[in-house]
């Protein structure tokens, strides 16, 4: 069955968790024991309605404060599809967790409170979804019940985001739906309160989307995770290169080049477990052998010889900063791209980018939740594609060697 991955986005209290809880409730995906727990807790809190955010806000601190702190992964299915929903926090302090949820999703539901319209966090989340190239954006104008389901409120928000998308040069599919997460209008069932709205409900929209791997079809890249040497008599000389295949398929007999050594060879066998295949589709975790005995280790990349990536020792990228310690010139990080980790030194911060797409400004550091253009000097040659060409070889994380924290995410332009 198709698996569709969706993340929520939007400012704090715009109703993301409530919406997801509502979807679960209206699709009858909440089991009896979970529903009972929600009923019990809602009552204890003195609410006269069911607080559906309790279906996803699983941490004590979240339930106490009524906010989401970290991503919850929620699973449900319809007759047509399986869904994985990443319910992310709206609070600016937890933007790193929102990025975590959005990074693996094909679609994003950006919620906007119909009363407040587009605010700073809406811009930031729209920006991040654009940076990540999340394909399908659904703008859910929420809390329509609090504005008497007024069409003009909906249209105003639609116009503002449409203008924003234009400014951003967005090529994403953007859909607008007026909803009430709390009451269920246009979530699973069509609302009678919005006769002026002729589009689909949120769930109908998801059901019609074609589920796709976020790592799209481009060029085949096999980052080698580990070399498999069985040390068994029957596989005495076996040397397998194991990794997950991204971007395209590989076939037995393909002429390949191994990077960084640039050694050429041919694919001898493709294994998945104990079976041999002539072709492997992208997304598969395979184990290949090559015709020649060449020296390959973790972090190397196998590519088709006709589709070589670019290379550099001076890298420029858009960086989304997620650490409370600022990014400054001269600081060293581990840059992890696929299975490849190399030392990188910040050589320049070229600009910080306004998340409402109003422009860029010079900067000497990147603070938490800021996005900027950064140049790095690399200890070794990096083989890469742009993020637009290939998400795997075009993205990386920066790890602070002092704290081991994942401090930033980079997107090669």
């Amino acid at each position: 069955m198709e698996v569709l991955k969706i993340a929520t986005a939007g400012s704090v209290d715009d109703g993301k968790s409530t919406l997801i809880g509502r979807i679960l409730y209206d699709t009858r995906s909440l089991t009896d024991d979970k529903l009972e727990a929600i009923e019990r807790t809602s009552k204890q809190k003195g609410f006269d309605y069911l607080d559906f955010s309790l279906a996803t806000d699983g941490l004590v601190a979240e339930r106490e404060q009524g906010i989401t702190i970290d991503v919850a992964h929620i699973y449900f299915s319809t007759a047509k599809k399986s869904y994985i929903i990443a319910d992310t926090p709206g609070h600016v302090e937890y933007t790193r967790n929102m990025v975590t949820g959005a990074s693996t999703s094909q679609a994003a539901i950006i919620l906007v409170d119909a009363r407040n319209g587009v605010i700073e966090q809406t811009y930031r989340h729209f920006f991040i979804n654009n940076l990540l190239k999340v394909k399908d954006i659904i703008v859910a104008v929420n809390k329509m019940d609090l504005v008497d389901f007024a069409q003009d409120k909906f249209e105003a928000i639609k116009a503002e985001i449409t203008a924003l998308a234009k400014r951003a040069g967005s090529t994403q599919n953007i859909t607008f739906i007026p909803v009430s997460a709390l009451q269920g209008d246009n979530v699973v069932d069509k609302s009678e309160n919005t006769p002026w709205y002729t589009g689909t409900t949120l769930l109908e929209h998801f059901e019609a989307l074609e589920a796709q791997d976020i790592y799209e079809e481009s060029v085949a890249r096999l980052p080698v995770q580990t070399v498999i040497r069985p040390k068994k008599d029957e596989f005495h000389d076996f040397r397998g290169y194991a990794g997950k295949l991204y971007g395209g398929s590989l076939a037995v007999g393909d002429e390949v080049t191994v990077l960084p050594s640039k050694t050429a060879s041919k694919i001898k066998d493709i294994y998945f477990f104990d079976k041999k295949y002539s072709v492997a589709e992208r997304g598969t975790s395979i184990n290949i052998t090559l015709e020649n005995d060449i020296n390959i280790s973790r972090g190397d990349i196998v590519v088709k010889s006709s589709e070589l990536p670019r290379e550099t020792k001076a890298l420029e990228a858009k960086v989304c900063w997620m650490d409370t310690t600022n990014l400054v010139v001269g600081k060293k990080y581990f840059l992890q791209q696929g299975a490849n980790v190399i030392a990188a030194k910040v050589s320049a911060i070229n600009s910080v980018i306004a998340t409402d797409f109003s422009g860029e400004a010079p900067a000497t550091e990147l603070k938490i939740n800021e996005i900027g253009n950064v140049s790095f000097k690399l200890a070794k040659t990096l083989f890469y594609d742009t993020y637009a060409e290939n998400k795997t070889t075009g993205s990386f994380i920066l790890i602070d060697p002092q704290t081991n924290n994942t401090s930033g995410a980079g997107f090669i332009q």
């Binding site: 089991t31 941490l59 693996t104 990794g243 589709e281 975790s285 924290n405 995410a409």
Partner: protein, 299 residues
């Protein structure tokens, strides 16, 4: 032409297992003999074939396990030629390090943590691979695939590392350790469907069988095992039941079932309106039972 088609969840799990093997020096697979850890074992076989699974198994034995599970555990490890390390909660109780709970709901679930942390220290494990899934429980739904724990095993749930795309950051300081969850994104149904597709053998208690049981709090408890506390007035009867999870017997209730084959189990789960952990009394102690256990070092 024979083309390998993608199975997203399987590929993801294999990818994660390979990352664990490559990024850590001393990983261990936590093996309980339950369906999730059995599934992990099959995935690990696939990830490293034709080489042997490159890490040992560790079982933290509460002493309250179903005998069928223990038997199964020993047989599988032997068949695969994998080192199986067993550490007993009973030893810590005997040594006076932990105190056994008493009463109607007494269980050794909490005590497992101490034994697990001791084993991690004894062997110097830097990564523990577990079969936890995010759909099991609301605190689990919040956890990363690589979940960093302090040297006291603590989970800092409000301060988890970002985890983007497939990129897993396993860098840690000495003494810290990472809990790694390759089947995070699988649901209970995904696991059962996989067991069916792969024709994986599992312990018999997962299938419907006749058992002497008694009822308490609307749940069905085994009356065949003395570790399950039963009051005098709790009447024993015979029913067709199976277990959905095979944890500590004292806190794992059975469900009524006539599913005697894997395909029937799959069908039953599809139709079920109760979640898997609905039959686990350890999660019912309080709203935050799982989160609290995790903060202290539990899985």
């Amino acid at each position: 032409m024979n083309e390998l088609r993608v199975n997203t969840l399987e590929s993801e799990a294999i990818y994660i297992l390979r990352e664990v093997a490559a990024q850590f020096e001393k990983p261990v697979l936590l093996f309980s003999g339950g369906k999730d850890s059995i599934t992990l074992v099959r995935l690990a076989q696939k990830a490293f074939w034709p080489a042997k699974i490159p890490f040992p198994f560790l079982h933290v034995d509460t002493g309250h396990n179903f005998p069928e599970t223990i038997e199964f555990r020993d047989r599988l490890a032997k068949e695969l030629g994998i080192d199986l390390i067993v550490r007993n909660v009973q030893d810590n109780i005997d040594a006076g390090k932990v105190v056994e709970e008493t009463g109607k709901y007494a269980s050794r679930n909490m005590l497992q943590t101490e034994t697990l942390l001791d084993a991690i220290e004894e062997f110097g494990f830097d990564a523990c691979i577990g079969g936890a899934r995010r759909d099991e429980e609301k605190a689990r739904a919040k956890e990363r695939i690589f979940s960093v724990r302090s040297d006291f095993g603590e989970w800092d749930e409000k301060n988890q590392r970002p985890e983007l795309f497939d990129l897993l950051n396993g860098k840690i300081e000495l003494g810290q350790n990472v809990r790694c969850f390759p089947i995070s994104n699988w649901t209970e149904l995904d696991v059962w469907s996989y067991i069916e597709r792969e024709n994986i053998e599992i312990p018999s208690i997962y299938f419907a069988h006749k058992r002497k049981v008694f009822l308490r709090d609307g749940m069905i408890w085994s009356a065949e095992d003395d570790v399950v506390y039963r009051a005098e007035d709790e009447e024993v009867q015979e029913m067709m039941v199976r277990f959905r999870t095979v944890g500590d017997m004292s806190c794992t209730a059975a469900v009524l079932s006539d599913a005697v084959s894997i395909s029937k189990v799959v069908q039953e789960i599809r139709d079920s309106s109760i979640s898997e952990r609905g039959a686990r009394i350890d999660d019912k102690r309080s709203e935050a039972a799982m989160e609290k256990r995790k903060q202290q070092g539990y899985f």
